[in-house]
């Protein structure tokens, strides 16, 4: 294994590719991202997405934020060669909803809002509340890890170049026309 500090910078691009692939997967095959064992029903892009284009010696950042904001500028940025560096996700399971930001370079989960848990009114309530919170956080950590594992397996497969990247390119093209 490479030295950790060297590897962090060297493989930042992989995190950005992961989030770009994630956007593509959410738009084309969401169910494949959800582990059947996790009993989650849906996942979609929330109120923020950040793209960066570092190609051709430029450093362009496009941030789209706001509930219900269109992602057209994001698609244009993808056409110019940008990749997603940060994404806000919404995950649903029945009445339950999680919202969080995922950062490509670190895979950190930020601003995670999980479904409401019972109120802690006495010291006896703490253990139950803590275990419930851990369970709810774990759902999103596992979801992220499950999606990343799928991405890495695809990224290292021969299909990556022969079909997956071509399909992503087609998706960008169609999204730009829509």
């Amino acid at each position: 294994m490479l030295d950790v500090s060297v590897a962090y910078n060297r493989y930042t691009f992989l995190g950005h590719e992961f989030l770009t692939w994630l956007w593509y997967m959410i738009e084309t095959d969401t169910q494949k991202l959800l582990d059947p064992k996790a009993e989650l029903e849906d996942m979609y892009i929330g109120n923020r997405i950040v793209l960066e284009n570092s190609s051709h010696n430029r450093d362009e950042v496009v941030t789209i934020k706001g509930d219900g904001a269109g992602l057209e500028e994001g698609v244009i940025a993808l056409q110019k060669g940008a990749k997603v560096t940060e994404i806000n996700l919404v995950v649903k399971a029945g009445e339950n909803e999680w919202r969080f930001n995922l950062k490509g370079e670190s895979l950190n989960i930020g601003g995670l809002k999980s479904p409401e848990t019972g109120r802690v009114e006495s010291a006896e309530d703490v253990e139950g509340a803590v275990l419930e919170k851990i369970y709810l956080y774990e759902k999103m950590v596992d979801l992220t890890n499950y999606a990343y594992r799928q991405f890495i397996k695809s990224r290292l497969s021969t299909e990556w170049e022969t079909s997956i990247v071509k399909n992503i390119s087609k998706w960008i093209s169609q999204a730009a026309k829509a």
Binding site: V4, Y11, G15, E17, G81, L131, I152, L156
Partner: protein, 208 residues
């Protein structure tokens, strides 16, 4: 950020190494030995240590639980004092003026000024209370994974240093490379391929 907060950030870690002796006893002793130390009324400007996530301002873990099923939950507390430069400057000028007056001189040597500055800062730190910051962590000791509920670089670095010193275990932060290498079940061939990866170009022109 706290386990029970309405919003949290999570940095994932993998815990490397094992505690040979009685696990829970060793953890209890190690936490106590590395608990936060108050620096109010002390000349130090920073203190880093463990504290209970339920009672972060108590200096020991007595009466607080930190074992929840197969998880250990406690907090990293970082106390810091920071004095604005203008305040240091004001007190330094006052101290220099007093020294000149007391010694009936017109100027001080550079070394003497430096000593006065150290003393001024020391005295100001003694008078200034530290600002505490707490960050909870959730350690699943059976799975050897840990979530630190903070994504600030400096706090993560303090965590890695203190955790290693306290438990003689090392933490590996999960980011794209380490997560792929350690958690994705890659074959040796895939690991080799990963070492040679370069960025992909996703958009390759208009499609019909």
């Amino acid at each position: 950020m706290g386990v029970l907060s309405s919003s949290v950030s999570i940095t994932q870690y993998r815990v490397e190494g094992t505690i040979e002796d009685s696990f829970l006893e060793t953890v209890a002793d190690s936490l106590t030995n590395n608990a936060i130390r108050e620096i109010d009324n002390e000349p130090e400007d920073k203190s880093v240590g463990w504290t209970s996530f339920e009672t972060p301002f108590k200096l020991d873990f007595s009466g607080s639980s930190y074992i929840f099923g197969t998880h250990l939950i406690f907090s990293l507390r970082i106390d810091k004092k920071s004095i604005p430069a203008k305040i240091i400057n004001k007190h330094l000028k006052m101290a220099i003026a007093k020294r000149l007056q007391d010694s009936e001189r017109e100027a001080l040597h550079r070394n003497e000024k430096s000593e006065i500055k150290d003393e001024v800062i020391r005295r100001l730190f003694m008078r200034m209370p530290a600002t505490p910051n707490m960050y909870d962590l959730i350690w699943n000791y059976e799975e050897k994974i840990m979530w630190f509920l903070c994504s600030q670089k400096a706090a993560n670095e303090e965590l890695e240093t203190l955790f290693s010193k306290t438990f003689k275990l090392s933490l590996i932060r999960m980011f794209p490379y380490t997560a792929a290498q350690l958690t994705c079940g890659l074959t040796d061939q895939e690991k080799d391929k990963m070492e040679k990866l370069s960025p992909s170009t996703f958009y390759r022109g208009q499609h019909a």
